[in-house]
Amino acid sequence: MSAAIKERSREEYKAQEERLRDVWANPAGWRYWTSVNNFQIGLWYGSAAFAFMLFAGALALLMRLQLAVPDNDFLSADFFNQAFTLHGTVMMFLFAVPIFEAVAIFLLPPMLGAREMPFPRLGAFSFWSFLLGGVFVCGSIFFNAAPSAGWFMYPPLATDKQFSGIGADIWLLGLSFIEVASIAAAVELIVGIMKCRAPGMRINLMPLFAWYLLIVAGMILFAFPPLIAGDLLFEMERMFDWPFFDAARGGDPLLWQHLFWIFGHPEVYIIFLPAIALMAMIVPTFSQRPIVGYSWIVLAAVGTGFLSFGLWVHHMFATGLPQISLAFFSAASEAVAIPTGVQIFVFIATMLAGRVIFSTPMLFGTGGLAIFVIGGLTGVMVALAPFDWQAHDTYFVVAHLHYVLIGGMLFPVVAGLYYYYPLIDAKKLSDRLGRLAFWLMFCGFNIAFFPMHLSGLRGMPRRVFTYPAEIGLDWLNLISTAGAFIFAAGVLVVVFDVLRPKHREPRGEFNPWNAGTLEWISEPEENWGVRSIPIVRSRYPLWDQKDLARKVNGGRYYLPDAEEGWREGLVTSVLDAEPIQVLRVGGTSHVTIVSALSLGAAFIALTFHWWIATALAAITCFCAVIYWLWTGTGEIPEKPEKDVGLGLSLPLYASGPDSVGWWAMFITMVGDGTAFASLVFGYFFYWTIHIDFTAGIAGPDAAWSLAAAILFAAAWGLMVAARMFNRRGATAAMRGLLVLSLLTTVGASAAGLAAPWSPGMDPTRHVYPAIVWILVIWVLAHAALGTVMQAYCLARSLAGRLTPKHDMDLSNVVLYWHFLLITAVITFVTIGLFPAAM
């Protein structure tokens, strides 16, 4: 009798497992590339980022060959300039940031005990955008068309067509596209970490890696938009001659520097923090104990994130800003050393309190820290304005930044590679090769970069394609070149170790290092992440919760089955991770590739001013995205609730702040608002640098501006009313209000357009009309998108996909309208009323 029950339950277990496997399976053949699974996307993303790194490294070797001897003519000046521009650009935008998005997409779901990221298709979209944009930007050098104005693209060198060619457009459009991909990934990471943790994993039990990624994704959200706003101004100047950075017409090249470094400095920490996060996973495992000072390190990471936004001016110490602001930014730049110190001492304390197994990952980790500390100390030096006046833009800074980034980022990444590689196929990388690679990289790095401190102090500026003999730089540069090649040999050993065939090696254990965190129970050959979603009670559940792995893999926890044929995960509450909903995520689809590629095509066509192709690609992208939303989001489930196991039943549908879609919209709009704030900052920046920033040009009509603001407010009010009526079941009233709001929005936009139009403001004449127009265009573009959303809601309602109970679409659109209202009111009050008030 009991044997029969056992037999039946074993069969049922098998059937469950089969169903689950089917649902999560990757498509076969070429369709494999339409997969959206986090495991695949993470792997592709990481491999692509790594390949871009090797490409940029090869460029660096070419540059080192050119600089090996004085007055060398191995490379032309122009090629060298393209090479250093691409080297910096690729390392920053195509390697350092994406590699962590890749690692996060790969690791986070299993680490949080989740099945998937909340928006797998968005992750795939982000990857394909990144790949296309990256190939486009990198490929340009083979056509001698790569950007050559430096990765910082200072105007007027980069804006003025007499100084720079198409390379500048390729940089701007290619990277804007990649920035969009990065923000998409950041939205996904934030929502994933906040809403998709395993039940019981309260926020203070979260693995440190998740904490760091949450902070970093938040930083991306506030750091990238200023750059996107800057890119917009930049491209308007290049394409249509709007004089944002042209001093002759009231513009100022320094505005770009502010916007660029408001992005650029947090960027350094966006790169550095995730690497420390990897260390925070590796160090406890090999110290065989939990981290010491969990709260210390979390607070330090949060502090670093905050401070990093207050340091940007230390890149501008030589621009002639007032002494008082230099003093302020010197102090802030020194302060950031403190949380960084805390993080290093947390590792030291953990090792002292444990018993350390000195494995290959630890070798890379501690070696990286030894290098990083030198970079940190020279950072303390250059943070002081007086010393920076000497060191700025010399090889001293080249040495400093490579000590920081290679010690603080590349070495920990390789440590992470050696640590996490077994997750791919339960096989370790070679210890012998790892140690060889480490010593080659460590020695090569120091031989290459240490002498650069001295060449900088001896007066060697950055970004020079050659230098004269007899000024004391010959030997230093020759040594640096030799070191660079030793370093590169080390990197190649790592590449070889990863790529060498391993099919003859036996598979090892799933958890070869005896680590304590959840990612180590996932079975490499399965696509489902976790067989069942566990209840977590500890920071190191594999150490503290007995039998966890067996129970999880035995399907004893939540959602062990996929009886309705959906990919499902749990949504939990933000702080306490109490389960609140079953989330059905999108599966394999080609729509992500189509929309990413068509968006990329639009950007590429725009670079070459192929207007018709741009329009066609943009329309394709628009249709693809609408199709994606219509078929893949806001589905009304066939039943309101489902049994997830362990006697728990959860709703299948959520709307408003309970739903992940609402959070994604909110987070996206925060980023969008940051970009808008950057444009407003530009407006007031011009106001502060000129005595009369209107230059006597008639401003926008106050009456039209006021009318626009009022009409936008009315349209917003109608939207809020529409949502309210819908919830009460008054579907017809809701539809009427939507139409009315749409018409009001059109009217508001027309009034907004009339404001700068009626006095005949010409944006090419002076920066004042230009900045007014760009703000108006920003609002109008958002209003246009708003009307599309209104029409979409109307269509969903008519199609029966938006009902009084299932109003996720409408609720998200109303959220969008809150932000649109703020944007519109600020814009029209600023442009219409502020000049009059002055």
Binding site: G341, A385, P461
Partner: protein, 325 residues
């Protein structure tokens, strides 16, 4: 006597053709001197801290055999990660902030007797000396300053952003279109230094430098007086070729009909330490090579190549320019 000696020292250096290599750590100016001290202080402190941290790291990773109690480990974080860096950084910051007003006193510096206006251009420097109560003196690609006297520099740009730097004298200052930045320098020792452009400014950024010559005040004044009048050699025969081949439409040579303002002022080219904006020794051969193929010597330069001229003419023009002492 001292003055005589330094003059001859300067001419010895001039003869060698290149400005002496002087680093930030061999200061010859007031600002650089104080920054060098700051650097040595930071370097010694940094070295001690690095040894301490890495020593602790290696000890804890390799040799530590007793597990420290969690409480003691936490206090390591507090003392090593918070208290020690806070105290050290506060002290260092106070030192640096205390230095700053003295280093760049341009708020009250309009009292300087000499103002030099330097305008950055792709890829050379336009220089105008504005001594108080005397007419301005134009030059290019070379900056001379009197030892022991404060000089105020007005830094501008005519095209893209450049940056002005004389390592042994003091820190750098950007030259930004639409803005005038001020920098005040005081040389304390005579010498010839290389001043490279330190903001990336396009194709030949690497080939944009100037020679800075710090001279004893008396020598400086007589030099400036000589620069204010046309060079003696201006009337010599090569000048006619210079004008006939159109060089005067871009270059200015005092005392001749060459009145162009697009390229560098060549009025006293022969007296300069280097030619081509700090990249070639001032020899007849170098000048001739530059005239023939400026695009080879300095890619992206605005000057067209003149290699279609008869070589004899080029040599004659070069000889004449060298004669503009």
């Amino acid at each position: 006597m001292g003055q005589h000696f330094s003059l001859s020292a300067a001419s010895l250096l001039l003869a060698s053709g290149y400005p002496g290599a002087r680093s930030v750590l061999e200061p010859a100016g007031e600002e650089a001197q104080q920054i060098a001290v700051l650097f040595w202080v930071m370097l010694s402190g940094g070295a001690v801290i690095w040894l301490g941290v890495v020593g602790l790291l290696l000890h804890s990773a390799l040799f530590n055999r007793r597990r420290l109690a969690e409480k003691s480990a936490s206090s390591i974080i507090l003392w090593g990660g918070v208290v020690f860096p806070s105290v050290t950084l506060c002290a260092l910051l106070a030192y640096a902030l205390w230095l700053m007003p003295g280093l760049r006193p341009f708020a009250q510096a309009s009292s300087a007797a000499l103002r030099i206006e330097v305008t950055g251009r792709q890829f050379w420097w336009e220089v105008v000396y504005r001594p108080s109560q005397r007419p301005p003196v134009a030059s290019a690609n070379e900056i001379r300053l009197p030892v022991g006297e404060r000089v105020e520099l007005s830094l501008k740009s005519a095209d893209v952003i450049h940056s002005f730097w004389i390592p042994p004298l003091g820190g750098k200052m950007d030259m930004i279109p639409g803005r005038t930045n001020r920098l005040s320098l005081m040389a304390t020792k005579p010498g010839i230094f290389r001043g490279p452009c330190t903001e990336y400014c396009g194709t030949s950024h690497a080939l944009m430098a100037f020679s800075a010559v710090a001279m004893e005040p008396e020598a400086f004044r007589s030099w400036l007086a000589a620069q204010a009048i046309p060079a003696e050699g201006a009337g010599a025969s090569g000048g006619a070729l210079f004008l006939r081949h159109g060089c005067g439409s871009c270059h200015f040579v005092a005392g001749t009909d060459a009145r162009g303002l697009i390229g560098p002022d060549l009025s006293h080219l022969g007296s300069r330490v280097t030619v081509g904006a700090g990249i070639l020794p001032n020899t007849e051969d170098a000048v001739a090579r530059f005239i023939a193929r400026p695009d080879l010597i300095k890619p992206g330069s605005r000057m067209p190549a003149f290699d279609m001229l008869p070589p004899d003419d080029i040599r004659a023009i070069a000889a004449w320019l060298r004669g503009l002492q």
